[in-house]
């Protein structure tokens, strides 16, 4: 490939940057440093994914792989608390960890008291304070071998959130992780890294928000690992509303053990290129997992969702609904992999991807990918691409509703199926307003 040489050159700049900020290799270096160093070695070998990689075939990342995005500056000062207000949800009792350009900002954060033994803190402080747990889990699920982005995140990962909920404990109100980028992140990279561990029977709800305060072309390369131990329950919500000039590559891995439950919501609004990889590993029987996603594209946005669900034990059920609304010359990619190993009998897996095209120039590449090696299973999948239903238009018009409002109502209704499952009312209402506002800007006559 023509960009191969450039790619290698680009990789070298990241290697140099890593060397510049890392201590010299030595025999006594910490496990984190070893993890970082081996991840950097990995990146130096593989570089960024190329178009020939099947998983990146429809997603041209050359604006990312062709640039050199140095670490954003560590200064978290100078962001007025009031600037956060539009992105907070009035959830009673909720805590928030705020990160400015990838660095923890304790002054903007707010921590309620948590049940005994529960930990909610920034990850950088947890390496020593909660060393045993972080060492046991960090990098074990979203492994650097996965691709160059995860490797690079693992090499740099300046900070992120660490949440640990001990056995049988309910963390209570949701924890909001708010990653803000501002003008200082222009042409720079941020590497949020989150580790969420729920021990047996624990419960937690976590919101991850990515917000662009200024309209700049930053690169967010985020990795979140979530461990849901036996009988534990997690609600996870990711909201990506960065600048439409920004690049966002997010990798999340949910590792579920037997009889656990997970619900993942993903709402993707921002980014010139936004890629969300979500892997769910079902490492036990009797697991339930739900994956819900909504993505909106306009202008020339590219939004790509890759999900992979691995059924390796019997009697697990998964349900996945991803919906997209695409306007202008936007382009969306959906790839939904479901693997069912021969051991995973009585698997129940449902997958749907529905897309609404509001413009002739909008494009969707949707690909359900089911690989089923067990015979006693119930697996369904379906993908649709369409326009608003003319009969629904007529019905609304016949009630006096004009075309602009009819279009707004019907477009929103399409999105609502996903949003209405968001469990926290203030978040649901807030996001409904955000989506409606966005559609109002988008719908033009």
């Amino acid at each position: 490939m023509a960009d191969r040489g450039d790619g290698a050159g680009v990789s070298a700049t990241y290697v140099e940057e890593f060397s510049a900020i890392s201590p010299r290799e030595n025999a006594r270096e910490s496990w984190v440093q070893q993890l970082r160093r081996s991840a950097m070695d990995r990146f130096a070998q593989v570089g960024f994914p190329a178009a020939r990689d099947e998983d990146w075939r429809f997603t041209n990342i050359s604006p990312i792989s062709g640039g050199t995005f140095q670490l954003a500056p560590a200064d978290v000062s100078g962001v007025a608390a009031a600037r956060l207000n539009p992105y907070l949800f009035a959830i009673p009792g909720a805590s928030r960890l705020v990160f400015i350009n990838g660095r923890y900002a304790p002054g903007l954060s707010h921590l309620e008291s948590f049940p005994a033994g529960a930990r909610v803190r920034n990850l950088a402080s947890a390496y020593s304070a909660d060393g045993a747990i972080t060492q046991r889990h960090l990098g074990q699920y979203a492994r650097p071998e996965r691709n160059g982005f995860v490797a690079l995140n693992t090499a740099f990962m300046p900070d992120g959130a660490f949440i640990h909920v001990p056995a049988g404990v309910d963390l209570g109100a949701p924890v909001h992780l708010l990653f803000l980028t501002d003008a200082r992140s222009a042409a720079r990279a941020i590497y949020p890294r989150n580790l969420i561990v729920l021990e047996r029977g624990a419960r937690a709800a976590v919101l991850e928000s990515y917000v662009g305060l200024d309209d700049v072309a930053s690169l967010t390369n985020a990795v979140t690992e979530i461990v849901v131990s036996e009988g534990a329950t997690i609600e996870h919500l990711k909201i990506q509303r960065e600048s439409e000039h920004a690049y966002h590559i997010g990798t999340a891995h949910i590792h579920q053990e037997r009889d656990s439950r997970s619900t993942s919501h993903s709402v993707s609004l921002g980014g010139a290129i936004a890629r969300n990889d979500l892997d769910v590993t079902l490492a036990g029987s009797g697991i339930e997992s739900t994956l819900l996603g909504l993505y909106l594209g306009r202008g020339r946005q590219l939004v790509d969702n890759h999900t992979a669900i691995r059924h390796a034990y019997p009697s697990c059920s998964t349900r996945e609904v991803y919906k997209g609304i695409l306007d202008d010359a936007s382009h969306a990619v959906f790839n939904g992999k479901v693997f069912v190993t021969p051991e995973a009998q009585k698997t129940d897996a449902k997958q749907t991807n529905r897309n609404l095209l509001l413009s002739d120039r909008a494009r969707i590449d949707t690909k359900p990918q089911l690989e089923i090696f067990a015979d006693d299973v119930k697996c369904t999948h379906g993908a649709t691409v369409g326009r608003l239903d003319p009969m629904s238009f007529f019905y609304l018009q016949s009630r006096g509703i004009g075309l602009p409002l009819a279009r707004r109502i019907l477009t929103y209704a399409f999105a609502a199926e996903v949003l209405e499952e968001i469990p926290f009312e203030s978040v649901r209402l807030g996001l409904e307003q955000t989506v409606l506002r966005r559609l109002d800007e988008q719908v033009s006559f």
Binding site: F394, S398, G400, I401, G402
Partner: protein
């Protein structure tokens, strides 16, 4: 109020209405009857502006305006209401939101402010009684997962809220059990006034026991082949449609 003259309409290549003449005055109830495929539902939908039909000939005057020249929403705002034979399901939009949106669009068209939310709720509570419903129905998505009877009642609720001058009921009785039929019919009757009119499109005479028409028209193969008083409906019930449709066969 409504004057239909020589109305021809087709869907795709198929001509369905082949010259309808019908005049409806304020205060009247007209029943349009006929066998399946006679064009009676098409007539109802053409009057509401259904995009699947193309009018090829004829005129429709409504309150002095050219109805065919108006968009469906303009017709609705001018007081034309179609109760759908198959009400459309709109998952994701609550009945409450939908009704308020429609109600306010109507008000805006009349140059009025949006309704005060409290006033709207008061009116809604009153109109829910027309269809013997509690307010729980308002938080459900429009027609989504509704039974056939619930959908028809929802149409009558919308009609009650939007207070049309000309209501067109398209086979509103189809698929209703006797209780739902009674509720729907008494709802329609309670909305009758000297200054509005109703067109009841139906296959069966049954509904006309409850909504008593002033005029009955029989449609066959896209034309009105017979008009009469309410006794005609009873005659159709007794004799079926064949004697009329045979009359129209050219010699």
């Amino acid at each position: 109020m409504l004057e239909i003259t020589n109305l021809h309409a087709r869907a795709g290549d198929k001509e369905i209405l082949k010259g309808i003449d019908l005049t409806v005055r304020a205060g009247e109830v007209h029943a349009v009857m006929g066998p399946n495929g006679s064009g009676k539902s098409t007539l109802a939908q053409v009057l509401a502006g259904h995009p699947a039909y193309v009018v090829t000939e004829g005129t429709v005057r409504y309150e002095g305006q050219d109805l065919l020249d108006m968009e469906p929403e303009e017709r609705a705002r001018a007081g034309v209401f179609l109760a759908f034979q198959y009400p459309v399901e709109i998952p994701g939009v609550t009945n409450a939101y939908f009704l308020r949106a429609a109600y306010n669009e109507m008000r805006k068209a009349k140059g009025l402010e949006e309704a005060d939310p409290i006033d709207f709720l008061d009116l809604l509570e009153e109109k829910l009684k027309v269809v013997e419903w509690g307010s729980e129905i308002m938080s459900r998505a429009v027609n989504a997962g509704f039974s056939g009877g619930e959908k028809k009642r929802n149409e009558i609720l919308q009609m009650a809220m939007l207070d049309p001058k000309l209501a067109i009921l398209d086979e509103t009785d189809s698929g209703l059990d006797i209780d739902a039929l009674r509720i729907v019919a008494s709802g329609v009757n309670s909305l009758r006034r000297p200054d509005n009119a109703t067109i009841v499109v139906t296959h069966y005479q049954r509904l006309l026991d409850y909504i008593v028409p002033d005029h009955v028209h029989v449609l066959s193969a896209g034309r009105i082949v017979k008009s009469g008083g309410k006794a005609l409906a009873l005659e159709l019930e007794a004799r079926g449609y064949e004697w009329l449709t045979e009359e129209t066969v050219p010699a």
